[in-house]
């Protein structure tokens, strides 16, 4: 019992940048959210290459944090008849996304030059 308590406390509940993106992609893909598709979508959206392993590892970590649940889905022929693991966002996952967004907005709101209206990005 004590051991569980400790691990519960120790568990990281903050979202990293990559994790946030993946979490959002899971939300976007909805019923098609499995590792391969998520990696594809990531590459399409960000134009950055990523390995399935890296995505899978992050999904796994998000699952550990309680932001995602998963279950085995249907199998298709192009997978050699193998089933895929479909991920869905949990309530705490949604909350974490919301918090992250709110946090960033509040940061933006505090940005003085932006508040003054003449933000200069040196473009």
């Amino acid at each position: 019992m004590f051991y569980n308590l400790v691990t519960y406390i120790m568990k990281e509940t903050k979202l990293g940048d990559f994790e946030e993106t993946i979490l959002l992609l899971v939300g976007i893909l909805d019923k098609e959210a499995y590792a391969f598709k998520i990696a594809e979508e990531f590459e399409a959206q960000t134009d950055r290459a990523v390995s399935i392993g890296a995505v899978h590892s992050t999904l796994n970590r998000l699952g550990d944090k309680g932001f995602l649940t998963s279950e085995m889905g249907a199998s298709t022929a192009e997978r050699g008849g193998r089933r895929k693991r479909i991920y869905t966002i949990t309530a705490s996952g949604q909350r974490a996304l919301q918090e992250s967004r709110d946090f960033k907005i509040s940061l933006w709101d505090q940005f003085p030059s932006l508040a003054g209206g003449n933000l200069n990005f040196n473009i």
Binding site: Y34, A35, F36, A39, E40, S51, I52, G53, A54, H56, S57, N60, R61, M72, S75, E78, R79, G80, R82, R83, K84, R85
Partner: protein, 875 residues
């Protein structure tokens, strides 16, 4: 048939790799994802890219979350201590098995250690020279057309200056001439010493440590003399000899210019004296030694060693020598000479050459000994493997429990390996004790071996040996350990009979056959060599052997000694000779027929005419030459039949009166002797000439007719001391000496006998173990058979028949091997040899059969005569 892109699968190897490290529960989804990715890329970018990407993706799965959990081994000291404890317990529980294993291993290892020591010693020859890689000597092969030719360790002396001036890349050249010997005068009397003539570069090339004197100049001038430490100490104890003049009669007065360390035991050349090569010339001019130093056609007197700058040049040097040989010998169209070179480290052990300067050792015995050592150790290993697997039945429960409690395969493996290592270490301990016992026995049983072998058991050697022992342990433990670790716990715990133990029965049988074949081989070898020994002892050498005493002159004046000996009435006849007939190789020389074209190598004996009478040599034709009284010029000789035949005289009478050249002398044949074995029976009878040149006498042959031998010995001793007070009298009966020259065969008998004993005892121990095991596992069966009515004899037959069959096979295999090895490899080395006969086979196989029967019989009889009620009662 093309199946299209849909049926192309991802690379198998990468997939396998993935499955190897990936958690099992992730396999399905990951493989699916990767395959989708693969097909995706296949469609757009082609197979090669797809394959490459697949591998990349697999590689990227090397992440902690995806890896299989490595079962924590938790191997720590406690576990090893436990393993050792269990090992010791199991060893002490099975006392008989432990005894058999340790005894077998210890015997095998001690023999192996002895042989390893021997081989190491043989390989140490000439390793002490710091420039050993660059020191070579020239070998010469003169081919006289129409005659057999030999390769010589010697080469013509003038070759040295050619090497020095005409061949680039040679740093130093040393000419060496052997047989510089004589009695060195000391304050009172004289001392016989032997040595060599050598150029002043001697100490630059070889690493003999010069204790006193300048290595550059010590051998610079004629009559310079370098002595070994031991000889110097003997000549003038405690005195500094440097710069003093020593007299050697018939050679001259020498100035001591250096003191050198005694040459090490494993130097291929040995000497007590070295004089400068410049001394050769004046001695040749005075006709004290035979003129050879300018002679391009003398291939037997001098050695040419050289130091090459770059070892890669050696082939070029050899080619240059052979080019030179063509022009050098162009004038003699019946002679062709080829030269080759030999590195100093490949002299001993090395090829069989004529005129070796010192120790000789051909590699064959070393190879044979090494194989034997390996075979014996393997045989001991087989015992261990065999018995361990046989014991599996009893230990399977233990393993089953261990596995169920949670032992992994590797833990069981380690446990059994530890057990083997413990056993091996015990064996090493006993084998070292055994080795210390057999080593002195071995050394004393082989005469003169201490001259070439040091038998230093150095710590390094012991370290190697320990390593070797551990490796042996692991090798013999590997099979049982693997076997046990693979045992399925469920099978192991189920009732005894169901274990598939007997699937290994073929391996075990094969091992037994191998062991016994080896034993048969050694026993037959021992018998055959013993047969050869008896044959050699009974062989009619063609001359009288009894009642002849040979006295070694050791450089003393033969005339003075003869004068003293002639006073003894029991000595009926007396002669001088250059060698003892029937023993070692006599000297050789080149002889040309009077038409002057053909030189033939012949053996010569320089003997007094009495020699023929004393030895009962039969004259077939002509007459014996008269004695050479005043050292007159040689002009008469006797030849043997073989000599006449080689020179093309089919009718021996025809050769009488013919004239031959030997070096510069002209010799007329006065008579022909019937062939006799003047060398050992190892050699065929070769062409031989006999003449009387008293300066070549090395021995006196005394024909003694007396009943009171000790009395005669006393008288001879007195005569000897009247001439030489220093040296001990060396006196031997001819038949005794002949016996000694055959002693090497007796050594073989002993060695093979010893090895045979070792192999047989190891094999029998193994068989004993197997018999015990069979009897134990079949206790119930025997009980039932007995209860039903089988007799003890029938039971013994049932229990032993499979083993007896194996031994018959072994007899067959070992016998064939022995026949091939002895009849085709070893015996042909001896010219007059026996053949392997049925009798030797029968004795060896019979002996083995008897021993095996004893081993099996004792156990089966015990098992068979037990009361069946005892074995059947407990269930």
């Amino acid at each position: 048939m093309s199946r299209g892109k849909d049926h192309i699968t991802p690379p198998r190897l990468a997939e396998k790799l993935l499955l190897w490290f990936l958690k099992d529960e992730l396999a399905e989804e990951v493989l699916g994802d990767l395959e989708e990715k693969f097909k995706d890329i296949l469609k757009t970018n082609g197979l090669r890219k797809a394959n490459r990407n697949y591998c990349y993706q697999v590689f990227k799965y090397l992440r902690p979350f995806a890896l299989k959990r490595i079962r924590s081994k938790r191997i720590n000291n406690t576990m090893y201590i436990n393993h050792t404890k269990v090992a010791l317990r199991s060893l002490s529980r099975n006392k008989l098995f432990t005894f058999i294993n340790i005894t077998g291993m210890a015997i095998g290892m001690s023999v192996a250690l002895l042989i390893i020591n021997l081989v190491f010693d043989a390989l140490k020859f000439d390793q002490f020279h710091t420039k050993k890689d660059r020191i070579y000597r020239v070998l010469s092969t003169p081919k006289h057309i129409g005659h057999a030719w030999d390769e010589n360790a010697t080469a013509p002396a003038p070759l040295a200056s050619f090497l020095e001036t005409d061949i680039p890349g040679i740093e130093e050249v040393v000419r060496i001439r052997r047989r510089f010997s004589g009695r060195v005068k000391k304050e009172d009397g004289s001392l016989f010493a032997q040595g060599i003539y050598a150029d002043d570069s001697f100490f630059k090339v070889f690493s003999f440590g010069l204790l006193q004197g300048n290595p550059e100049t010590a051998l610079q001038n004629p009559y310079d003399l370098v002595l070994t430490q031991t000889l110097a100490e003997k000549l003038r104890p405690g005195e500094d000899l440097m710069g003093q003049v020593l007299t050697i009669p018939d050679r001259g007065e020498f100035l001591v210019t250096g003191i050198v360390e005694d040459p090490p035991a494993h130097s291929h050349m040995k000497f007590e004296l070295i004089t400068s090569f410049k001394t050769v010339k004046p001695l040749e001019e005075k006709e004290l030694i035979f003129a050879s130093s300018e002679n391009w056609e003398d291939f037997n007197t001098s050695y040419v060693y050289f130091l090459v700058k770059d070892t890669e040049q050696i082939m070029a040097v050899e080619n240059r020598l052979n080019e030179m040989s063509i022009s050098q010998y162009a004038s003699n169209e019946r002679l062709e000479v080829s030269f080759s070179t030999q590195n100093i480290t490949s002299i001993v052990p090395g090829k069989d050459l004529n005129n070796q300067i010192g120790a000789e050792l051909i590699p064959l015995p070393i190879i044979i000994l090494s194989i034997i050592a390996i075979a014996i150790v393997l045989s001991a290993c087989f015992n261990y493997t065999n018995l361990s697997i046989a014991r599996a039945m009893r230990r399977s429960k233990e393993i089953g429990v261990r596995k169920i409690v949670g032992s992994s395969k590797s833990q069981i493996f380690i446990q059994f390996s530890v057990e083997t290592v413990v056993m091996t270490i015990l064996s090493v301990f006993f084998s070292t004790l055994l080795f210390l016992v057999i080593k002195p026995l071995f050394i004393t049983s082989i005469p003169r071996i201490d001259l070439i072998m040091e038998f230093n058991t150095s710590p390094v050697l012991m370290l190697y040996f320990l390593l070797f022992a551990v490796v042996i342990g692991l090798v013999s433990g590997l099979f049982p350990a693997l076997f046990f670790s693979r045992l399925k716990p469920l099978n192991a715990l189920r009732s005894n009979g169901s274990i598939r133990l007997f699937s290994h029965i073929k391996v075990r049988k094969a091992l037994i056959v191998l062991q016994f074949s080896l034993s048969v081989l050694f026993l037959i070898a021992m018998n055959v060599v013993f047969k050869q020994y008896r044959y050699a002892m009974a062989y009619d050498m063609g001359f009288k052997e009894e009642n002849i005493l040979n006295l070694s002159l050791n450089g003393n004046d033969h005339e003075r000694l003869i004068a003293e000996l002639e006073k003894i009435p029991e000595i009926s006849q007396l002669s001088g000779s250059s060698a003892v007939p029937g023993t070692t190789a006599s000297n050789t020389t080149m002889v040309k027929s009077s038409n002057g074209v053909d030189s033939v190598r012949v053996n010569f004996l320089s003997v007094n005419p009495n020699f023929m009478d004393i030895h009962n040599l039969k004259l077939i034709s002509g007459e014996v030459y008269p004695a050479n009284q005043q050292n007159e010029i040689l002009n008469k000789m006797l030849v043997n039949e073989e000599f006449a035949h080689v020179h093309g005289y089919n009718e021996v009478n025809d050769i009488i009166g013919e004239v031959f050249y030997m070096n510069q002398s002209l010799l007329t044949v006065t008579g022909v002797l019937e062939d006799f074995n003047f060398q050992t029976i190892e050699e065929p009878i070769r062409p031989l000439i006999l003449f009387d040149s008293p300066s070549n006498y090395e021995f006196l042959n005394l024909n003694v007719q007396a009943s009171d031998l000790p009395n005669v010995f006393d008288k001879i001793e007195k005569a000897w001391t009247a001439v030489d007070e220093e040296t001990e009298l060396e006196l031997k009966f001819l038949d005794q000496e002949l016996e000694e020259s055959n002693a090497f065969l007796m050594i073989f008998v002993r060695v093979f006998g010893f090895l045979g004993l070792v192999a047989v005892s190891i094999a029998c121990l193994g068989l004993l173990g197997m018999a015990v095991f069979t009897a134990e596992t079949r206790v119930k069966e025997i009980g039932i058979r007995k209860a039903i009515g089988a007799s003890v004899n029938q039971l013994i037959y049932t229990l032993s028949k499979s083993y007896l069959f194996l031994i018959i096979i072994s007899g067959f295999v070992g016998g064939t091997l022995a026949y091939i090895l002895l009849q085709k490899v070893i015996l042909p080395e001896i010219h007059h040899h026996v053949n392997v006969g049925f009798f030797e086979f029968a004795i060896a196989i019979g002996m083995l059969f008897l021993l095996a029967l004893l081993a099996i019989g004792s156990q089966t009889w015990r098992a068979a005569s037990r009361n069946p009620s005892e074995s059947l009662r407990s269930e």
